[in-house]
Protein backbone atom coordinates (compact mmCIF):
# COMPACT_ATOMS: atom_id res chain seq x y z
CA UNK A 1 0.00 0.00 0.00
CA UNK A 2 1.26 3.39 -0.85
CA UNK A 3 -0.71 4.80 2.00
CA UNK A 4 1.75 6.67 4.20
CA UNK A 5 -0.48 6.61 7.28
CA UNK A 6 -1.12 2.91 7.07
CA UNK A 7 -4.86 3.50 7.37
CA UNK A 8 -7.44 1.95 5.11
CA UNK A 9 -7.55 3.65 1.69
CA UNK A 10 -11.09 4.84 2.25
CA UNK A 11 -10.59 7.94 4.42
CA UNK A 12 -7.60 8.82 2.29
CA UNK A 13 -9.82 8.87 -0.77
CA UNK A 14 -12.37 10.97 1.04
CA UNK A 15 -9.73 13.43 2.12
CA UNK A 16 -8.44 13.58 -1.44
CA UNK A 17 -11.92 14.23 -2.73
CA UNK A 18 -12.53 16.93 -0.16
CA UNK A 19 -9.23 18.52 -1.10
CA UNK A 20 -9.99 18.44 -4.81
CA UNK A 21 -13.42 19.94 -4.14
CA UNK A 22 -11.81 22.68 -2.14
CA UNK A 23 -9.26 23.24 -4.88
CA UNK A 24 -12.01 23.42 -7.45
CA UNK A 25 -13.88 25.98 -5.37
CA UNK A 26 -10.79 28.13 -4.86
CA UNK A 27 -9.98 27.90 -8.53
CA UNK A 28 -13.45 29.08 -9.37
CA UNK A 29 -13.32 32.02 -6.99
CA UNK A 30 -9.86 32.99 -8.20
CA UNK A 31 -10.68 32.68 -11.87
CA UNK A 32 -9.90 35.81 -13.80
CA UNK A 33 -13.08 37.44 -14.93
CA UNK A 34 -13.20 36.57 -18.62
CA UNK A 35 -13.05 39.30 -21.18
CA UNK A 36 -16.07 41.38 -20.36
CA UNK A 37 -18.62 42.12 -22.99
CA UNK A 38 -17.83 45.77 -22.64
CA UNK A 39 -18.20 46.98 -26.16
CA UNK A 40 -19.92 50.32 -26.02
CA UNK A 41 -23.70 50.51 -26.09
CA UNK A 42 -23.56 52.02 -29.53
CA UNK A 43 -21.63 49.05 -30.87
CA UNK A 44 -24.19 46.64 -29.42
CA UNK A 45 -27.03 48.66 -30.89
CA UNK A 46 -25.37 48.81 -34.29
CA UNK A 47 -24.84 45.07 -34.15
CA UNK A 48 -28.52 44.25 -33.76
CA UNK A 49 -29.63 47.07 -36.04
CA UNK A 50 -27.38 45.90 -38.85
CA UNK A 51 -28.39 42.27 -38.40
CA UNK A 52 -32.08 43.07 -38.50
CA UNK A 53 -32.14 45.72 -41.19
CA UNK A 54 -29.84 43.78 -43.50
CA UNK A 55 -32.24 40.83 -43.55
CA UNK A 56 -35.27 43.08 -44.13
CA UNK A 57 -33.49 44.85 -46.98
CA UNK A 58 -32.43 41.58 -48.58
CA UNK A 59 -35.92 40.11 -48.26
CA UNK A 60 -37.58 43.18 -49.72
CA UNK A 61 -35.01 43.37 -52.52
CA UNK A 62 -35.47 39.71 -53.45
CA UNK A 63 -39.24 40.17 -53.46
CA UNK A 64 -38.93 43.27 -55.60
CA UNK A 65 -36.70 41.48 -58.08
CA UNK A 66 -39.18 38.59 -58.31
CA UNK A 67 -41.92 41.13 -58.95
CA UNK A 68 -39.89 42.79 -61.65
CA UNK A 69 -39.03 39.65 -63.58
CA UNK A 70 -42.09 37.48 -62.95
CA UNK A 71 -44.64 40.26 -62.91
CA UNK A 72 -46.41 39.46 -59.68
CA UNK A 73 -46.59 43.03 -58.43
CA UNK A 74 -47.04 43.72 -55.51
CA UNK A 75 -47.08 40.30 -53.91
CA UNK A 76 -43.42 39.50 -54.22
CA UNK A 77 -42.41 42.65 -52.40
CA UNK A 78 -44.98 42.08 -49.65
CA UNK A 79 -44.03 38.44 -49.11
CA UNK A 80 -40.34 39.28 -49.38
CA UNK A 81 -40.75 41.95 -46.74
CA UNK A 82 -42.51 39.52 -44.39
CA UNK A 83 -39.88 36.85 -44.91
CA UNK A 84 -37.20 39.49 -44.51
CA UNK A 85 -38.66 40.48 -41.16
CA UNK A 86 -38.68 36.83 -40.12
CA UNK A 87 -35.08 36.38 -41.20
CA UNK A 88 -34.21 39.57 -39.36
CA UNK A 89 -35.60 38.16 -36.13
CA UNK A 90 -33.65 34.96 -36.79
CA UNK A 91 -30.48 37.01 -37.28
CA UNK A 92 -31.04 38.96 -34.10
CA UNK A 93 -31.63 35.77 -32.11
CA UNK A 94 -28.39 34.31 -33.48
CA UNK A 95 -26.50 37.51 -32.79
CA UNK A 96 -27.80 37.56 -29.23
CA UNK A 97 -26.83 33.91 -28.77
CA UNK A 98 -23.25 34.72 -29.73
CA UNK A 99 -22.56 36.64 -26.54
CA UNK A 100 -24.94 34.67 -24.38
CA UNK A 101 -22.33 33.26 -22.01
CA UNK A 102 -21.33 36.80 -21.12
CA UNK A 103 -17.75 36.33 -22.18
CA UNK A 104 -18.20 38.27 -25.37
CA UNK A 105 -16.78 35.30 -27.19
CA UNK A 106 -19.07 33.38 -29.44
CA UNK A 107 -20.18 29.97 -28.37
CA UNK A 108 -18.80 27.21 -30.54
CA UNK A 109 -21.21 26.05 -33.23
CA UNK A 110 -23.68 23.80 -31.53
CA UNK A 111 -25.47 20.79 -33.01
CA UNK A 112 -29.06 21.22 -34.14
CA UNK A 113 -31.45 21.62 -31.29
CA UNK A 114 -34.34 19.31 -32.04
Amino acid sequence: MSNPNGKSPRPDKDALKALSDKLEATKKSHQEPEIQNDRSGMAAGLKYASEFSAAVLVGAFLGYMIDKYVGTKPWGLLLGLIFGLGAGVLNVIRAAKEGMDGSGIDLPPEPDED
Partner: protein
Protein backbone atom coordinates in the same frame (compact mmCIF):
# COMPACT_ATOMS: atom_id res chain seq x y z
CA UNK B 1 -17.59 80.34 -41.94
CA UNK B 2 -16.32 78.76 -38.75
CA UNK B 3 -18.49 75.72 -39.34
CA UNK B 4 -17.00 75.13 -42.78
CA UNK B 5 -13.75 73.80 -41.33
CA UNK B 6 -15.58 71.86 -38.65
CA UNK B 7 -17.95 70.00 -40.91
CA UNK B 8 -17.94 66.46 -39.46
CA UNK B 9 -18.54 64.84 -42.83
CA UNK B 10 -15.66 66.40 -44.73
CA UNK B 11 -13.16 64.04 -43.13
CA UNK B 12 -14.59 61.22 -45.22
CA UNK B 13 -14.06 63.00 -48.50
CA UNK B 14 -12.17 61.03 -51.13
CA UNK B 15 -9.35 63.01 -52.71
CA UNK B 16 -7.77 61.80 -55.92
CA UNK B 17 -3.99 61.93 -55.90
CA UNK B 18 -3.43 60.39 -59.31
CA UNK B 19 -6.04 59.95 -61.97
CA UNK B 20 -6.17 56.44 -63.38
CA UNK B 21 -8.73 54.90 -65.65
CA UNK B 22 -9.18 51.45 -67.11
CA UNK B 23 -11.93 51.54 -69.68
CA UNK B 24 -14.80 53.34 -68.00
CA UNK B 25 -13.70 52.25 -64.54
CA UNK B 26 -12.15 54.87 -62.34
CA UNK B 27 -9.30 53.31 -60.38
CA UNK B 28 -7.62 56.54 -59.35
CA UNK B 29 -5.12 56.49 -56.54
CA UNK B 30 -6.93 58.25 -53.69
CA UNK B 31 -6.29 59.09 -50.07
CA UNK B 32 -8.16 55.89 -49.26
CA UNK B 33 -5.76 53.81 -51.34
CA UNK B 34 -2.85 55.65 -49.79
CA UNK B 35 -4.03 54.77 -46.28
CA UNK B 36 -4.48 51.14 -47.28
CA UNK B 37 -0.92 51.14 -48.58
CA UNK B 38 0.29 52.76 -45.37
CA UNK B 39 -1.54 50.11 -43.33
CA UNK B 40 -0.05 47.29 -45.41
CA UNK B 41 3.37 48.92 -45.20
CA UNK B 42 3.16 49.22 -41.41
CA UNK B 43 2.10 45.59 -41.09
CA UNK B 44 4.84 44.40 -43.42
CA UNK B 45 7.48 46.43 -41.62
CA UNK B 46 6.31 45.23 -38.22
CA UNK B 47 6.17 41.57 -39.17
CA UNK B 48 9.37 41.56 -41.20
CA UNK B 49 11.43 43.41 -38.64
CA UNK B 50 10.03 41.72 -35.57
CA UNK B 51 10.26 38.08 -36.57
CA UNK B 52 13.93 37.40 -36.23
CA UNK B 53 12.88 34.09 -34.70
CA UNK B 54 14.96 34.59 -31.62
CA UNK B 55 14.18 32.15 -28.83
CA UNK B 56 13.68 34.89 -26.29
CA UNK B 57 11.32 37.29 -28.03
CA UNK B 58 11.94 40.98 -27.94
CA UNK B 59 9.10 43.44 -27.57
CA UNK B 60 8.02 43.55 -31.21
CA UNK B 61 8.34 39.80 -31.58
CA UNK B 62 6.24 39.32 -28.45
CA UNK B 63 3.47 41.38 -29.94
CA UNK B 64 3.65 39.40 -33.15
CA UNK B 65 3.51 36.13 -31.22
CA UNK B 66 0.65 37.32 -29.03
CA UNK B 67 -1.38 38.36 -32.04
CA UNK B 68 -0.68 35.01 -33.65
CA UNK B 69 -1.89 33.19 -30.53
CA UNK B 70 -4.90 35.46 -30.24
CA UNK B 71 -6.11 34.85 -33.78
CA UNK B 72 -5.26 31.15 -33.70
CA UNK B 73 -7.28 30.70 -30.50
CA UNK B 74 -10.19 32.56 -32.05
CA UNK B 75 -10.13 30.42 -35.18
CA UNK B 76 -9.83 27.24 -33.12
CA UNK B 77 -12.72 28.10 -30.82
CA UNK B 78 -15.08 29.29 -33.54
CA UNK B 79 -14.29 27.01 -36.47
CA UNK B 80 -12.62 24.02 -34.86
CA UNK B 81 -9.26 22.46 -35.65
CA UNK B 82 -9.94 22.20 -39.37
CA UNK B 83 -10.61 25.91 -39.38
CA UNK B 84 -6.91 26.51 -38.87
CA UNK B 85 -6.31 26.10 -42.60
CA UNK B 86 -8.03 29.47 -42.92
CA UNK B 87 -5.74 31.00 -40.35
CA UNK B 88 -3.69 33.04 -42.86
CA UNK B 89 -6.85 34.56 -44.31
CA UNK B 90 -8.39 35.41 -40.94
CA UNK B 91 -5.11 36.77 -39.60
CA UNK B 92 -4.66 38.98 -42.66
CA UNK B 93 -8.21 40.30 -42.37
CA UNK B 94 -7.89 40.95 -38.64
CA UNK B 95 -4.55 42.70 -38.81
CA UNK B 96 -5.49 44.74 -41.86
CA UNK B 97 -8.76 45.96 -40.36
CA UNK B 98 -7.09 46.60 -37.02
CA UNK B 99 -4.35 48.69 -38.61
CA UNK B 100 -6.77 50.53 -40.86
CA UNK B 101 -8.95 51.36 -37.85
CA UNK B 102 -6.08 52.39 -35.63
CA UNK B 103 -4.35 54.47 -38.29
CA UNK B 104 -7.64 56.26 -38.76
CA UNK B 105 -7.41 57.36 -35.13
CA UNK B 106 -4.34 59.49 -35.88
CA UNK B 107 -5.47 63.08 -36.47
CA UNK B 108 -5.72 64.11 -40.15
CA UNK B 109 -5.39 60.51 -41.26
CA UNK B 110 -8.08 59.09 -43.47
CA UNK B 111 -10.01 56.08 -42.19
CA UNK B 112 -10.40 53.54 -44.98
CA UNK B 113 -12.89 51.44 -43.05
CA UNK B 114 -15.26 54.40 -42.73
CA UNK B 115 -16.35 53.81 -46.32
CA UNK B 116 -18.93 51.09 -46.71
CA UNK B 117 -17.62 49.97 -50.07
CA UNK B 118 -14.30 49.00 -48.48
CA UNK B 119 -15.89 46.98 -45.71
CA UNK B 120 -18.38 45.49 -48.16
CA UNK B 121 -15.60 44.23 -50.38
CA UNK B 122 -13.93 42.66 -47.33
CA UNK B 123 -17.22 41.01 -46.37
CA UNK B 124 -17.79 39.78 -49.93
CA UNK B 125 -14.30 38.26 -49.88
CA UNK B 126 -15.32 36.32 -46.79
CA UNK B 127 -18.61 35.22 -48.28
CA UNK B 128 -17.09 34.13 -51.60
CA UNK B 129 -14.51 32.12 -49.69
CA UNK B 130 -17.29 30.51 -47.61
CA UNK B 131 -19.37 29.65 -50.69
CA UNK B 132 -16.37 28.64 -52.79
CA UNK B 133 -14.86 26.39 -50.15
CA UNK B 134 -18.24 25.00 -49.10
CA UNK B 135 -19.16 23.99 -52.65
CA UNK B 136 -15.64 22.71 -53.34
CA UNK B 137 -15.56 20.61 -50.17
CA UNK B 138 -19.16 19.42 -49.91
CA UNK B 139 -20.53 19.94 -53.40
CA UNK B 140 -24.28 19.72 -53.43
CA UNK B 141 -24.39 18.96 -49.70
CA UNK B 142 -23.42 22.55 -49.01
CA UNK B 143 -27.08 23.41 -49.62
CA UNK B 144 -27.87 21.57 -46.39
CA UNK B 145 -26.96 24.89 -44.82
CA UNK B 146 -30.37 26.09 -45.96
CA UNK B 147 -32.18 22.86 -45.13
CA UNK B 148 -31.82 22.43 -41.37
CA UNK B 149 -32.62 19.00 -40.00
CA UNK B 150 -35.06 18.31 -37.21
CA UNK B 151 -37.75 20.73 -38.31
CA UNK B 152 -41.27 19.55 -39.24
CA UNK B 153 -41.78 19.13 -42.97
CA UNK B 154 -44.74 21.51 -42.93
CA UNK B 155 -42.69 24.59 -42.08
CA UNK B 156 -39.35 23.48 -43.51
CA UNK B 157 -39.76 25.40 -46.82
CA UNK B 158 -40.46 28.60 -44.95
CA UNK B 159 -37.56 28.08 -42.58
CA UNK B 160 -35.36 27.43 -45.58
CA UNK B 161 -36.45 30.72 -47.15
CA UNK B 162 -35.57 32.46 -43.90
CA UNK B 163 -32.18 30.73 -43.90
CA UNK B 164 -31.48 31.84 -47.45
CA UNK B 165 -32.39 35.46 -46.68
CA UNK B 166 -30.36 35.29 -43.50
CA UNK B 167 -27.38 33.97 -45.42
CA UNK B 168 -27.58 36.65 -48.09
CA UNK B 169 -27.90 39.33 -45.43
CA UNK B 170 -24.65 38.27 -43.78
CA UNK B 171 -22.20 40.23 -45.89
CA UNK B 172 -24.42 43.29 -45.57
CA UNK B 173 -24.68 43.14 -41.80
CA UNK B 174 -20.99 42.26 -41.52
CA UNK B 175 -19.90 45.25 -43.57
CA UNK B 176 -22.47 47.66 -42.16
CA UNK B 177 -21.42 46.86 -38.62
CA UNK B 178 -17.76 47.71 -39.15
CA UNK B 179 -18.50 50.72 -41.32
CA UNK B 180 -21.19 52.20 -39.07
CA UNK B 181 -19.01 51.90 -35.98
CA UNK B 182 -16.07 53.66 -37.57
CA UNK B 183 -18.21 56.24 -39.32
CA UNK B 184 -20.32 57.12 -36.29
CA UNK B 185 -17.32 57.19 -33.99
CA UNK B 186 -15.36 59.58 -36.19
CA UNK B 187 -18.34 61.86 -36.67
CA UNK B 188 -18.93 61.94 -32.92
CA UNK B 189 -15.30 62.76 -32.22
CA UNK B 190 -15.17 65.54 -34.76
CA UNK B 191 -18.50 66.92 -33.60
CA UNK B 192 -17.48 67.26 -29.96
CA UNK B 193 -14.02 68.55 -30.80
CA UNK B 194 -15.67 71.02 -33.14
CA UNK B 195 -17.98 72.22 -30.37
CA UNK B 196 -15.00 73.02 -28.19
CA UNK B 197 -13.44 75.13 -30.95
CA UNK B 198 -16.74 76.81 -31.75
CA UNK B 199 -17.18 77.78 -28.10
CA UNK B 200 -13.88 79.62 -28.03
CA UNK B 201 -14.30 81.31 -31.40
CA UNK B 202 -17.94 82.15 -30.69
CA UNK B 203 -17.89 83.31 -27.07
CA UNK B 204 -14.47 84.85 -26.82
CA UNK B 205 -11.54 83.47 -24.92
CA UNK B 206 -12.60 83.26 -21.27
CA UNK B 207 -16.30 82.36 -21.38
CA UNK B 208 -15.45 80.23 -24.38
CA UNK B 209 -12.82 78.22 -22.54
CA UNK B 210 -15.25 77.71 -19.71
CA UNK B 211 -17.93 76.51 -22.10
CA UNK B 212 -15.45 74.32 -23.95
CA UNK B 213 -14.78 72.21 -20.86
CA UNK B 214 -17.74 69.91 -21.36
CA UNK B 215 -17.23 69.11 -25.08
CA UNK B 216 -13.50 68.83 -24.46
CA UNK B 217 -14.12 66.32 -21.67
CA UNK B 218 -16.40 64.39 -24.00
CA UNK B 219 -13.71 64.28 -26.66
CA UNK B 220 -11.23 63.12 -24.09
CA UNK B 221 -13.58 60.35 -23.01
CA UNK B 222 -14.40 59.35 -26.58
CA UNK B 223 -10.83 58.87 -27.78
CA UNK B 224 -10.05 55.77 -25.68
CA UNK B 225 -13.51 54.46 -26.45
CA UNK B 226 -12.77 54.83 -30.15
CA UNK B 227 -9.53 52.92 -29.74
CA UNK B 228 -11.51 50.19 -28.04
CA UNK B 229 -14.09 50.20 -30.82
CA UNK B 230 -11.32 50.04 -33.42
CA UNK B 231 -9.98 46.89 -31.80
CA UNK B 232 -13.34 45.30 -30.97
CA UNK B 233 -14.70 45.80 -34.46
CA UNK B 234 -11.64 44.21 -36.05
CA UNK B 235 -12.06 41.34 -33.59
CA UNK B 236 -15.78 40.99 -34.29
CA UNK B 237 -15.17 41.00 -38.04
CA UNK B 238 -12.55 38.27 -37.76
CA UNK B 239 -14.67 36.28 -35.31
CA UNK B 240 -17.73 36.36 -37.55
CA UNK B 241 -15.51 35.33 -40.44
CA UNK B 242 -14.54 32.27 -38.41
CA UNK B 243 -18.17 31.52 -37.57
CA UNK B 244 -19.16 31.74 -41.23
CA UNK B 245 -16.17 29.64 -42.25
CA UNK B 246 -17.27 26.98 -39.79
CA UNK B 247 -20.52 26.87 -41.76
CA UNK B 248 -18.52 26.12 -44.86
CA UNK B 249 -16.61 23.41 -43.01
CA UNK B 250 -19.67 21.75 -41.52
CA UNK B 251 -22.89 22.70 -43.28
CA UNK B 252 -25.97 21.37 -41.54
CA UNK B 253 -24.72 22.35 -38.11
CA UNK B 254 -25.92 25.58 -36.72
Amino acid sequence: MIAAGLDPISQFEIVKYAELKIGKYDISFTNSSLMMLVAVGCIALWLLLSTKKSLIPGRAQSIAEISYEFVADMVRSAAGKEGLKFFPFVFTLFIFILFANLLGMIPFFFTTTSHIIVTFVLAMMVMSLVIGYGVFKHGFKFLKLFWPSGIPMAILPFVSILEVISFISRPISLSVRLWANMFAGHILLKLFAGFAIMMVTGLGLFPGLLGAIVPYAMTLALVPLEFLVAFVQAYVFALLTCVYLSDALHPGHH
